[in-house]
Subunit: 375 residues, 2 copies
Amino acid sequence: MTSRPDVRSNPRRRNRAAAATIHDVAARAGVSVATVSRVLNGKELVREETSRHVRAAAKSLRYVPNVAARSLSIRRSQTIGIVLPDVHGEFFSEVIRGIDLAARAQGYHILVSGSHSDPAQMLGVVDTMRGRVDGLVVMAPDVTLAPLDELRTRAMPVVLLNSATPNGDAITIDNYGGARAMMRHLHDLGHTRIAFVRGPQHNADARERLRGYRHAMRGMAAASVKALECGGDFTEESGFAAGGRLAALTPRPTAIFASNDSMAVGVLASLMAAGVNVPAEMSVVGFDDIPIARYVSPSLTTMRVDMAELGRCAFALLLDAIGNPAVHAPRHDRVATTLVVRKSCAAPKTQPKENTQPHRAARGRKRVPEKGEVS
Amino acid sequence: MTSRPDVRSNPRRRNRAAAATIHDVAARAGVSVATVSRVLNGKELVREETSRHVRAAAKSLRYVPNVAARSLSIRRSQTIGIVLPDVHGEFFSEVIRGIDLAARAQGYHILVSGSHSDPAQMLGVVDTMRGRVDGLVVMAPDVTLAPLDELRTRAMPVVLLNSATPNGDAITIDNYGGARAMMRHLHDLGHTRIAFVRGPQHNADARERLRGYRHAMRGMAAASVKALECGGDFTEESGFAAGGRLAALTPRPTAIFASNDSMAVGVLASLMAAGVNVPAEMSVVGFDDIPIARYVSPSLTTMRVDMAELGRCAFALLLDAIGNPAVHAPRHDRVATTLVVRKSCAAPKTQPKENTQPHRAARGRKRVPEKGEVS
DNA sequence: CCGCAAAATGTAACCGTTTACATTCGAGGG
DNA sequence: CCCTCGAATGTAAACGGTTACATTTTGCGG
């Protein structure tokens, strides 16, 4: 109940090099803190001369506003959170890069957290970000719907990346369209017996790519589509296994579409080991355009996914949600993919009617090794 | 001068779903805010029963402390900043990953900013992080010393990564030791005429690797060391160019040590194009162990740099600096590198005394293509 | 049953901003 | 000369925690 004496401006325990506060600046400039605030935020009317004084004082004291105080007061942190399943890999770092660029341009900072093995851990991280960020970009392709809905209850704008998205804001890769485009490319080259290596069942990207493949196959009046599909889990190893199985099929497919590049690389390796010439005897394509796609031999034809663009879009959407929470209508944007044609894919040799190639003989060395592939 | 009535506990403008505050929890639990704070921070003594009540109230209100208020009060943000030249690439994402893991284990968050073309921009970012973070990890291998010293004036603990470091805390890769170890490996295989592809002159890593190379050469009593060095800028293209120049030397070196993997890949490509067989006619080694090192053919022998470890160390050091600003003595730690032997390196064919191989004939195809390299 | 130390809890100042509202100051109109 | 009005500036109440210090409970020996 005591009246609060203003002790602010006298030299508190200034034992260490304490940073200057707005009070110090005000004192130095001979004005009130309100005026300093007004000058520095430039919204309201202040006499030009006063403004100059304040600015000079701030500069001479090397004044930098305390962001904690500021965000406590205005209830905003000018920071957004990024939650990834794993910070690992080219993939995610590209997303961060895209967001970082867009965010800094708008004066936003980004708080990242990765490596979340399970949904519970992810939600935990989201809670600790509470209050620290104005909104969230969450990438969780492998998470089932329930935890994602849980996320929406966090009373904070959230943009989902590559997730199965019932509602709310989201940005996804056009996996379905990309898969169809790839199928069109293969079809144009003359392929009709196209095998597919699936990704993890609970992965949203994998599912959409599979859907695109199936639609395309149905459109090509291909027989026994199911027989041409093979399970995988997005790892190189699973691609290697799938490659072996698919090459052993009779009639053998003329092309293998792996639903991501890692598996395509595995497929390539297994065909190589089995002495199957790529692309002469078998075409192989992937999805993502990871950096090594250019370096494997033969270099891999694939669908490029611009992850930085994905990040940029996500930030733009989030910013809108943060800025106009009232009028903002949830959106679901899709970013396009682009076909990158390299050497792992060619027209099928002939259109042999049951050209039963007996077994895979040791006839590997035939083709000119695709070296110098680099660049 | 009026006595301040406590309006906190009544429903302020609770128009929206405002988050519960500590006052709400206190009211619900029938205790004071101080008690709630004590329970939640678990430092001081509170009766077990009270504690339960408070915890229950907090839970039922889904209370999450406001971090801005908290850090304003305790003058700490439990957040550290990471400043990178470019968030791009496997390299940096590994560093982030290492820090993220270590930081989360200690309850710290990380604020990332990348893509800084010039020192001024970098310092700008550091200023906007002021107050938002308790300390900084700055990676700036290409920045000259002056701006780095400027950084130290920011009155905030800073750990430098891979920078030319006059003083203060720093973590660096053991570039010098790694280069010497690689030279020892080559020497053990029988190489003595070892060429070197340098990196950018103003890059600290590049300089140290060069230093290691030179010392080793001097130790091997090699003649005309300088003639075996070749400029480069850490890009594939520069490696390609260097490869061509070095292969044309007479007497030709038996091994090429590129000071990073990207350049080694370029060297490989150029030798391939020139029909020089690697490793039969020429050994090639790199530094870093970037992911594609395993995928080029022949797969690349290189020095692995554990970037995640680098990040972890940096965080540990920073934490110490933050925790005991008084007693903390600046340290400069070095993280070791490990030799990864792959296929691009072998014993020189013979030790021919001036075995003047006339010109590079078109005798490329000779060796068994190193496919199946994958995994 | 009292007194007293220790334990538990409460009170309110403080962290550094923003901003609604109050105050001051000058100029211009009556 | 006084009043009014608007522009410029000041005052102090938030924002939501932490914590030194004050106050109330407790437990216990005498």
